[in-house]
Symmetry: C2
């Protein structure tokens, strides 16, 4: 976690920067630009045309470019384009100078061959560090950790630990936690810079080390890592292998990115958009992301249609029945989605782990009975008043009542079952539950209609 | 931000703790319990019955209880219950010992009278600090900031600054940023502990202070604060009034809570659950949260039904038409929700701010044409094959085609317009867009059906 509050600026002088680039005025540009926070540097850089960017590659050293690149959030194509514009050895130097976890993120966006060729011409230590990290599976602790942490042995004083810390500070992602390891490099404890500072210089590290250190295993899901850092208010968490060797750390800033990613992900799944579109894609790219869902939903919709088709005879006798199909199916979808959303968020926030599952199901059943009763009565009255037909009102009301109970329960059960089966409950649950509930509601409605038939004609 | 990595433990000895409480064994309990991370203390505490909790109030000092309480995340009712169990002066002492921002969060859950009575018997300095914070409106920077920061003047050496820092460390929320203020208490710069440590003891603070400090104004939306901390990878941000007086700081851990809250909020709004249920509520509480939406949706559904009712004559002639109503309305809802989700997330992540709005609209129109064409052709073929009626296939296909274009556009436009009108685009957009799209799709479908009528009978 770079310590970046030292050179920030919000309203940077864009005009001055642009002009100095145009005039190829190295000194003016560097003086203004290097004073900016890397995030602002990246924001400025993103908006430039290729020509202006190529001037920047001449004006900044690979080391200076590394800070900017760590803060560049663009999509796959743009990473490829920007790297292709650079001289390969310049790009490799820049990648060596980035924090390893950020360099890994960039290389992951490239084709395998491309990434491999950069690794060959890179500084070999940095390349090795990156290769080690590239092995970890996506979405695991290993994939978001960095290896630039500070570790010390317990058998020294605060003074000597502070000396190590001062020396390693320029390269470490965070200096606010120092990890204590034993002679086998196994994690033995943690000590915060706060502790180092408030304790006397002659205090032994062993005396002030906390040996009940919370760590995560390298294969742990990144969402669980985020949850731990959030719950415990940590600034960083150590990552260990199965033998408790310290492999890396995950800092709070990386975890914030994970949280945003996962939130976008859950949100987009509820809306049936696989892999949330960024806004700068073309219509073709956007359509490609949405069409798979739409086609699945289309065929599920055809199933529902064919189900209704079986009741065509009923419909031709009592055509008024058709009027209420979307209402009943819609209400089933709505309650189902509500119950689903509560359960999915409960799983995502970890609340559900601590909760009795059967308690949840009883609660949802109760909720379904209450909402079903109230909506059923309201709709009965409305239909009765509107059509002057009490039987039609009763039919629609009873259908809504039964539908709401079943749909609410289904909405809660589907994510629970998916979670039990180790499937991410956010996947497909939205459209899936809506289709299930469409089918259930239509069966209930036409089942009721058959019972009421003699009163309706 | 308390520096909590020093005393964490995951698998604490619950049995031992429970037993020592039951036997009222003070020493065993305190030795084990005070060694736990406050988050674990709070998790243990939450699961206790009232009787066991009352033993804890005797075993722990108000200071010790404060750390636990800062990590207690329960709902309104439970805060009230737990506080009511404590001796009022014990509770007041505990509140005085909490970080001011956390104490404010607790007092905000109480009734005004109750909160006021605690403030009267509290330590008067702490009470004043809390009263100042209570004034700020919910969801603003002021409402989540804390006043426990470290500020120094520029006119001193690193050595003397470190001395101040060591003294204030036990009480400050973070010691990793130190804020430099001028004689009027106006924010003049920031310096990180990293800078203090790597620089020589005799360096003047003025030399190493960064005077381009990023701050937020006290009335700024908490979501914008979270975005800034996330983008710049800060551990804390200073909060200033309109004259740039330093009022407080917001730390990254508070911002993570804001991010989670806002993500849950957007998610629940897409699913039409106002104010996400926590899982431990009763069916009545859950129904109360969901019913308002369901009743609105019910009446919107009745409107759609009455619209279909106008075509009852058409339906009675060609009852097969009814079969495809849910399919077409459903597809309109699906595409609309997809487009909406992309736009809402774009607004939430700030991507849309930097984007040309008309570019988005053109892109969505293009996406609608592509998805509409493909789904339209597919459904035409499917219906033709199924019913052997090419005109019916064409009718449904053209309806899907037109519906998808209009629905996609509507899905993107509604949140944009809401955002322009300064309404949170996540509010009600989900069900709202679905109803609009239901109506549009039914008008298109029956409009087409009227045109095709002579071929269908």
């Amino acid at each position: 976690m770079p310590d970046m509050q030292e050179r920030p600026s919000e309203q940077y002088n864009r005009e001055l920067l642009l002009q100095s680039l145009q005039n190829e005025d190295l000194d003016v540009f560097r003086e203004e630009f290097l004073d900016l926070h890397p995030y602002d540097q990246a924001s400025f850089f993103k908006e430039l045309e290729e020509e202006a960017r190529s001037v920047i590659y001449q004006f900044l050293s690979p080391e200076e470019m590394a800070g900017l690149f760590e803060n560049l959030e663009v999509d796959e194509e743009e990473y490829k384009d920007v790297l292709a514009e650079m001289n390969p050895s310049y790009a490799a130097d820049m990648l060596s100078n980035m924090y390893a976890d950020d360099a890994v993120d960039v290389l992951n966006e490239l084709d395998k061959d491309q990434a491999a060729s950069y690794l060959t011409i890179m500084d070999s230590d940095a390349a090795q560090e990156i290769k080690d990290l590239l092995h970890y599976e996506e979405y695991t602790a290993g994939s978001i950790m960095t290896t630039e942490f500070i570790s010390i042995s317990a058998n020294q004083t605060v003074r000597s630990a502070m000396y190590i810390l001062k020396n390693e500070a320029p390269r470490a992602e965070t200096i606010y936690y120092v990890y204590v390891v034993d002679e086998d490099k196994k994690l033995a404890g943690v000590i915060s810079l706060r502790d180092l500072i408030v304790n006397d210089d002659d205090t032994m590290i062993a005396e002030i080390t906390n040996d009940r250190v919370v760590s995560v295993s390298v294969g742990e899901d990144q969402e669980d890592v985020a949850r731990k850092i959030k719950d415990y208010n940590f600034l960083a968490l150590p990552v260990v292998d199965f033998q408790n060797h310290l492999l890396g750390i995950i800092t709070v800033d990386d975890v914030m990115d994970v949280m945003e990613e996962e939130a976008s992900d859950d949100y987009s799944k509820l809306a049936a958009v696989s892999d949330m579109d960024t806004l700068d894609r073309s219509p073709f790219a956007a359509a490609r992301k949405r069409l798979p869902w739409l086609i699945i939903l289309l065929f599920l919709g055809m199933m529902t249609a064919s189900l209704i088709g079986r009741f065509e005879e009923t419909l031709s006798k009592v055509s008024i029945l058709a009027v209420f199909i979307p209402l009943i199916a819609g209400m089933a979808g709505n309650t189902g989605t509500q119950a689903l959303a509560v359960a999915v968020r409960g799983i995502a926030t970890g609340d559900l782990e601590r909760e009795n599952k059967s308690k949840l199901i009883f609660r949802e059943a109760g909720t379904g009975v209450i909402t079903g009763t109230i909506c059923g009565i309201l709709v009965s009255l409305a239909v009765w008043l509107w059509h002057g037909d009490i039987y039609l009102g009763l039919l629609v009301g009873i259908s809504i009542f039964s539908t709401l109970i079943v749909a609410t329960l289904a909405g809660a059960l589907v994510p629970l079952i998916m979670h039990r089966m180790k499937i991410d409950p956010a996947v497909a649950s939205g459209p899936f539950i809506t289709t299930i509930n469409d089918i259930i509601s239509i069966l209930i409605y036409f089942g009721m209609a058959t019972l009421f038939m003699s009163y309706l004609i």
